[in-house]
């Protein structure tokens, strides 16, 4: 049935709703309803129409042509045209969006063939090119408002203008954001819901209570502390949905700073890998919302291979490796002391750090936890000022986008977070990532990725522990809500209240 509203948790409060400049998690969730991109992807990463109705790739993988919807307009009434696409991908994103630069930097030309046709010509084939048309990577920006302006100080940043099914109605800072239905939306009979309200709930306990008492109808990502999820999932009015995160599919891992002793010794890294009980992490830290990981690429995404070196929980082997290194226990049973830079994103990661501390303690590695807040964590991480830290970056639907960046030596860039901060460097790995990125067929790409996974799991610059399943808790009365690989960041053009 049409009509009705839906309350969705927003946490933390988005700094802005102008998705072009900010891709925070909660910004995506809210702004994803306001802005659209050309494509979206089903759970198996098949492209689905967005602002593009159809598209085709040339045989050689060098030319992509998109046909755009005819009747789309911006929220201010201006028609959406191919020029907007060209402006967005050629000018805007290249200027401000680090992830988009990786994609559209491959383009030789981007041109509008007519008002509703756009052609991208690449310098060389780029396997994950279509993935770049996902909403957070390439949100369409209104050229008529931004062209020729200073994007970061453009006054329109405060009043988002997109093409999406919902528009901003009211933002009461610190309290809630309210979106209302866009009556001129291009989708036939869409959207169904009258409004979406995003209450800002900074406290995890409050979020759980709100969900439980039916004051909000949806939570996503780590909004709800994981141990609370099973309990809430039991409630009759809530469903637990774990689909819809395929595009992100993070692997929770420990990154070692491969430059510093003892982490520069592969035996030590292996010892740590053996000493961590992955199943226990999945159960105790992630409360079953995840499975033990085997390597850098998640099964949930593409190009995973299970033909890799695995590290089952094995303390003897771990200790043997340490003995071999000559790290023998002192009087207190301590072989060496290392520090662990704690990830500042909530209690889960605090427990994670405590668990690492306790488990490595069993083989005589004393772990000092270094607390941090978001700013200092990013600063220290980016500047390689750590020994170990945890992390769970998104994979963005393709290893070339979400995985390679952490391992290729050309991406060792001090001062840049989420680059190759571990300092791992292997020419063979560099070559394989290069090859697979520019592969045209999935088969040739898979072959290269399998080999990369084998090498990485053997040299373990990191310890991959758990493939995390984000939980979406959704009120059972709603349907067609989670329909794509970006799940809750989708437009919700199809979402509706089930007929009674």
């Amino acid at each position: 049935a049409d009509g009705g509203s839906m309350n969705i948790i927003a946490f933390p409060e988005p700094p802005t709703l102008f998705i072009g400049l900010d891709q925070n998690g909660s910004t995506q969730t809210v702004a994803g309803k306001i802005y659209e991109s050309l494509l979206t992807f089903d759970f198996d990463f098949n492209p689905q129409p967005g602002l593009a109705t159809s598209w085709e790739m040339s045989e050689d993988g060098l030319v992509y042509t998109f046909n755009l919807v005819q009747n789309a307009t911006w929220h201010d009434g201006t028609p959406f045209t191919a020029h907007d696409v060209v402006f967005t991908c050629r000018d805007f994103l290249m200027e401000v969006h680090p992830r988009a630069r990786v994609i559209f930097g491959n383009c030789e030309t981007i041109e509008a063939l007519d008002d509703h046709t756009v052609r991208f010509t690449l310098k060389q084939p780029f396997g994950p090119f279509l993935m770049g048309f996902e909403m957070s990577t390439a949100p369409m920006i209104p050229a008529h408002l931004y062209e020729g302006t200073d994007y970061r100080t453009n006054p329109n940043n405060d009043t988002p203008v997109g093409t999406g099914p919902f528009k901003l109605a009211e933002w009461s800072r610190g309290q809630f954001i309210r979106l209302e239905r866009n009556p001129d939306y291009h989708g036939e009979g869409q959207p169904h819901l009258e409004e979406l309200v995003f209450p800002i709930l900074p406290d995890a306990g409050a979020r759980a209570v709100a969900l439980e008492q039916g004051q909000v109808q949806q939570s996503q990502f780590f909004d709800i502390e994981l141990f609370d999820v099973p309990r809430l999932a039991e409630l009759p009015h809530l469903d637990l949905i774990s689909r819809g995160y395929e595009f992100y599919a993070p692997v929770a891992r420990i990154e070692f700073n491969n430059r510093v002793a003892p982490f520069d010794d592969v035996r030590f890294r292996k010892a740590v890998n053996y000493a961590l009980d992955r199943q226990l992490f999945a159960d105790a830290i992630f409360f079953g919302l995840g499975v033990p990981a085997t390597g850098p690429i998640s099964k949930r995404t593409r190009f995973y291979s299970d033909d890799v070196t695995t590290y089952d929980y094995n303390l003897e082997q771990a200790e043997a490796l340490l003995d071999e290194m000559g790290l023998t226990p002192d009087g207190d049973g301590v072989r060496t002391t290392v520090s662990f830079l704690r990830l500042p994103w909530g209690e889960t990661w605090a427990r994670f750090a405590e668990m690492v501390q306790q488990q490595l303690g069993q083989i005589g590695i004393r772990v000092e936890i270094e607390p941090s807040d978001p700013a200092s964590w990013t600063q220290r991480y980016a500047n390689w000022d750590f020994q170990m830290t945890s992390n769970y970056p998104y994979q963005f639907g393709d290893p070339a986008l979400g995985v390679a960046r952490f391992f290729i030596s050309s991406n060792i860039r001090q001062g840049v977070a989420y680059s190759n901060c571990t300092g791992y460097s292997n020419p063979q790995v560099d070559a394989l990532f290069e090859k697979s990125a520019h592969g045209v067929t999935d088969e040739e790409r898979q072959a290269a990725y399998t080999e990369v996974q084998q090498i990485l799991t053997d040299e373990v610059p990191m310890a991959w522990l758990v493939e995390v399943d984000f939980p979406t808790l959704l009120d059972t009365r709603y349907e067609d809500v989670i329909v794509s690989a970006i799940g809750t960041n989708e437009t919700y053009r199809k979402a509706k209240l089930a007929a009674e």
Binding site: F227, A284, E354, P371
Partner: protein, 280 residues
């Protein structure tokens, strides 16, 4: 026996306060003997409610760690932070207050402006800022609490010193040729100590509360957890496991209560005249 001590030993408030503190201190010291198991180690199943398993009769947390053992081990951090920050604050306060009160004039003016300055800053936010700058650790928390809590001591000492400065025995010392330093240290300060000691015991209490609050907000030292840290860590699971935040809170309450009782008793003991009034 010293009459102050005698009065103190007869005061039930002092006895209750002292006993609680003694228990807390002893358990902080002897925790490793009372609970030989590693308090970090997963001991049994997570979320074990209290009073079910006699071995873990205050229950366990989300990682299956014994709450009771945790309370004993974590007493150390809470008590150390409370004591150390108070000692530091009292020292700063005494130095500044004594200089301002004794010399008066522009020295007094300058020092009191500084004190006022620190009293105008919203204290708790400022403490958080200090912890963030120094990055969370036991030392940074101690420094932060110290920085925001010395001004009242300085004011107290200043007014005491200023009034003592014109007392005849201080004048006598001046006339006898004792140096300023000696007069401050030997003549004046000992006579300001009783209110300062009474204030200090209350400051330890509020330092423990402040530390708990800082830890609660997630800026605690994860290597030296405190009771406040325990509450902060378990705040999100309050629905499942009330006992995880309840017991640490109760312990803080008891210790702070004990310090307050002791502070009051000290005050009464130093000021028998005032104490008697209360009982009329």
């Amino acid at each position: 026996m010293n009459p102050t001590l005698r009065r103190l030993s007869r005061d039930p408030k002092a006895l209750i306060g002292f006993t609680i503190l003694l228990v807390a201190t002893l358990s902080a010291i002897f925790a490793p003997m009372l609970f030989p198991r590693d308090p970090w180690a997963m001991a049994t199943r997570p979320f074990l409610p209290p009073f079910e398993d006699p071995e873990f009769w205050l229950g366990t947390d989300m990682l299956g760690r014994d709450i009771f053992a945790g309370l004993a081990y974590r007493a150390r951090m809470s008590l150390i932070v409370g004591l150390a920050s108070t000692v530091a604050a009292v020292v700063i306060g005494i130095v500044i207050g004594a200089l301002a009160g004794y010399f008066g004039g522009w020295i007094d003016d300058v020092l009191m402006r500084v004190t006022e300055f620190f009293q105008t800053i919203p204290t708790f936010v400022f403490a958080l800022l200090m912890v963030a700058i120094l990055s969370p650790s036991m030392l940074s928390i101690i420094i932060a609490i110290c920085i925001v809590s010395w001004p009242p001591v300085a004011r107290l000492v200043r007014s005491e010193v200023a009034s003592l400065r014109n007392r005849d025995f201080v004048r006598a010392a001046t006339v006898l040729g004792e140096s300023h330093g000696r007069i401050i240290v030997a003549q004046i300060l000992p006579n300001t100590l009783s209110p300062v000691i009474a204030m200090a015991s209350l400051m330890v209490a509020s330092a423990i509360l402040t530390e708990a609050a800082i830890s609660f907000l997630g800026l605690g030292d994860p290597n030296r957890m405190s009771w406040g840290y325990m509450i902060g860590a378990s705040r999100t699971v309050i629905r499942q496991a009330w006992w995880m935040s309840f017991f640490p809170g109760l312990v803080i309450l008891l210790v702070v209560l004990a310090l307050n009782l002791l502070g009051e008793a000290l005050n009464d003991a130093f000021n028998p005249r005032l104490a008697r009034r209360g009982r009329r």
